[in-house]
Amino acid sequence: MTAPEPFLGTTSSAPVRHHILSVLVENKAGVLARIAGLFARRGFNIYSLAVAPAEGNARFSRVTIVVDAESAPLEQIVGQLDKLVNVVAIKDLAPRDALERELLLATLPVNDTNRAAVLDVVANAGASIVDANATSFSVVLAGTPGACDQLEKSLEGFADVELQRTGRVALPRLKQTATP
């Protein structure tokens, strides 16, 4: 008997053996192309990718890459990525050690027959309505990738939904220590 796999918080949206790489890069032209090109030519699969300026420093950006560790050994992916001259630091987070969040935005038509159902879905998901007019709602959810999966699935029942997700960002989970 082996110990059961820990619950990874998500099933449908990313491969089970996914890893999160939090990559600090120089904020220079073409850096994203270098990363994307490396993944393409080495046959590493990217599940999602998010880029933003890092910690208020214009010199660096942080790229959060969810990689499919089935497509290549993680050691290879990290080793090759580290060779890119513009890559400054790589943090490798196993899903169990990562605090992951993602943003979902959706716009959908509402009318008298579905309004109650939509409000129900939004409330259950912990999402909020951030824009509305006579015929449509815009809904936002910032949550775990699993919660975003759930909401996306719940919205499938409605017609003409326009939906976008950002891809996840992640930080290491805090270590639980005894209170001082």
Binding site: A29, G30, E75, G79, K83, V85, N86, V87, V88
Partner: protein, 571 residues
């Protein structure tokens, strides 16, 4: 001091100690060609940009210093893509400067525009698109730093025409920090735990093999290797990229491993209990079928590039450092294997049973290519540098020439670039004018880059080229004979067309031809007398000759095929 960007570029190259640029001008790089007239740097005008790249590689491989090439934008830049890819595969330090259309025109499909930084992203260690003239010194200094440290490789600088024409206040970086490379850490502290583990594995070993790769030459570790090998008495194999890292005449040297390696080198690896990989990367041409490669061996993998660890073969100890430093650490810990007498006795049996052989040449020809190489080698001055193209002649040159020191074997390993030999020989001769340089070439390879002999003659670079003319793309022919039921598809080239002697003469070289044994000896003698102009010899060799030993592609190294005359015995 105010300089144009073009002047700053040339001055930066001077700062880096560059003595030679291989290149060819054109529109976008034109401003940079003007200050060359006032520079101490020698410019070698090539006839095709691919030649410039391979010359720079030959220069780098023969001297250990970075090679420099300069070309214009668009087709000038794309023509040098093959040498860049070649240098990337073989970790050769190269700095390539390409002209680019003016900044304002980038992205507009301007005349001779191409996205060369995009094209070469995957085949350079790094590349730069210069944004201002002020950046030029930093980019050049960074390019040389990147090309020559850590795992060496090609670095490209793309310079838009308006920037080379604009003014800048001259400066030059004096510290690594000024290079602005926050993500680049070529050296990491030595992992003492890994060293201790390696020392323990060595201590337990009864059948070790030193698997020496190109990284040993790149880190200039040949002296440390000799000392370590002699102290520990371990057998040594040198890969195609490491020929010359350990003297071929040394009794502990088993020769080259791999697809066309020596039987004893291949078999010693297969039977080893410990493989110490020194700057080698478990290339498929060495391992054959990976699952049966050195199946009983523990692996100590020494490499400066961590991405090589566990890429092909799981290492028991991975030590990220340069080869010299690892060997010094092993010596300091007095890492010593068990008594190797039994192991050596076994190895000597293989060496005696399966030496390199070839069929006796007949007096009237055709010549045996292996015999031609041996005959040239016998009459060659000590320290002669040998370059090769890619194919049968390359394997025979590696097998039958004895390399005694680093920088004497210049070839295209990882990329397998046909046509490498002639321009690489020119570059090697420019870098080491004191040495004789022979290019052992094939007729197919020669036809790809022969026009650079015009460059050699015009610039006074007296190389010697031996064409082993078997009228075929010989290695392809060998595979079609062995694996495609002798169905020869598109491999015949003709021995007479072109007329290599006339072609050589038209390029200002001495052209010679040999069909018989006597003629072979005579033309080699003649070629050795000529030291002012390039010499080209058309050696008419046997088309049916094949390279042995051979491990078929993807087959296990246990199934090595020896020369037909050695088969039929129980091994």
């Amino acid at each position: 001091m105010q300089l144009t960007g073009a002047q700053a570029l040339i001055k930066s190259l001077e700062q880096e100690g560059v003595d030679t640029i291989f290149g060819l001008p054109g529109g976008a790089i034109l401003p940079v060609y003007d200050p060359i007239l006032d520079s101490s740097i020698r410019h070698i005008l090539v006839r095709h940009e691919q030649g410039a790249g391979h010359m720079a590689e030959g220069y780098a491989l023969a001297t250990g210093r970075p090679g420099v090439a300069m070309v214009t934008s668009g087709p000038g830049a794309t023509n040098i893509v093959t040498p860049i890819a070649n240098a990337h595969m073989d970790s050769t330090p190269l700095v390539v400067i390409t002209g680019q259309v003016a900044t304002a025109s980038i992205g507009s499909d301007a005349f001779q525009e191409c996205d060369i930084t995009g094209i070469t992203m995957g085949i350079t260690k790094h590349n730069f698109l210069i944004q201002s003239a002020h950046e030029i010194p930093r980019a050049v200094a960074a390019a040389f730093h990147l090309a020559t440290t850590g795992r060496p490789g090609p670095v490209l600088i793309d310079l838009p025409k308006d920037i080379s024409q604009s003014m800048m206040e001259w400066w030059y970086p004096t510290t690594i920090e000024e290079l602005d490379l926050p993500g680049y850490r070529p050296e990491i502290p030595l992992d003492d735990d890994a060293v201790a583990l390696a020392v323990a594995l060595i201590g337990a070993s009864e059948r070790p093999v030193l698997y020496v790769g190109g990284g040993t030459l790149k880190s200039k570790a040949h002296k440390e290797l000799l000392a370590f090998a002699e102290r520990t008495k371990m057998p040594v194999v040198t890969t195609l990229m490491a020929r010359g890292a350990f003297p071929d005449s040394h009794e502990q040297h088993l020769g080259m491993p791999g697809m066309h390696g020596m039987y004893s080198a291949v078999t010693a690896i297969q039977k080893a209990d410990l493989l110490i990989s020194l700057g080698a990367r478990f290339d498929d041409r060495v391992t054959g079928q990976v699952s049966s490669f050195a199946a009983g061996a523990k692996v100590i993998h020494v490499d400066i590039d961590r991405a090589e660890f566990n890429k092909v073969r799981q290492a028991d100890v991975a030590l990220q450092t340069n080869v010299a430093r690892a060997l010094v650490a092993f010596d300091a810990a007095n890492a010593t294997p068990q008594n190797l007498d039994v192991w050596w006795k076994e190895i000597r049996t293989w060496q005696e049973r399966y030496p390199l052989v070839y069929d006796e040449p007949s007096v009237d020809g055709p010549l045996r290519p292996q015999h031609v190489i041996k005959a040239i080698a016998e009459k060659a001055a000590p320290g002669t540098i040998v370059t090769a193209g890619v194919g049968q002649h390359q394997m025979w040159a590696s097998q039958f020439w004895d390399f005694e020191e680093p920088g004497t074997w210049v070839n295209s390993g990882g990329a397998g670039t046909m046509g490498f030999g002639v321009p690489a020989a020119i570059g090697a001769k420019v870098g080491r004018p004191d040495r004789t340089v022979w290019c052992i070439d094939g007729d197919g390879c020669f036809q790809m880059t022969a026009q650079e002999l015009v460059t050699a003659r015009a610039e006074g670079i007296p190389i010697k080229v031996a064409i082993l003319n078997n009228a075929y793309l010989g290695m392809v022919r060998q595979w079609q004979e062995m694996f495609y039921e002798e169905r020869y598809s598109e491999v015949y080239l003709s021995a007479e067309l072109p007329d290599y002697v006339k072609w050589a003469e038209s390029m200002g070289c001495v052209g010679l031809r040999a069909r018989t044994l006597q003629e072979m000896h005579d033309v080699i003698e003649q070629a050795n007398q000529i030291n002012d102009v390039p010499v080209v010899i058309d050696f008419r060799t046997d088309s049916s000759e094949k390279v042995f030993p051979m491990v078929a592609s993807g087959a296990s190294n246990d199934d090595i095929l020896v020369h037909p005359s050695q088969r039929g015995e129980n091994s």
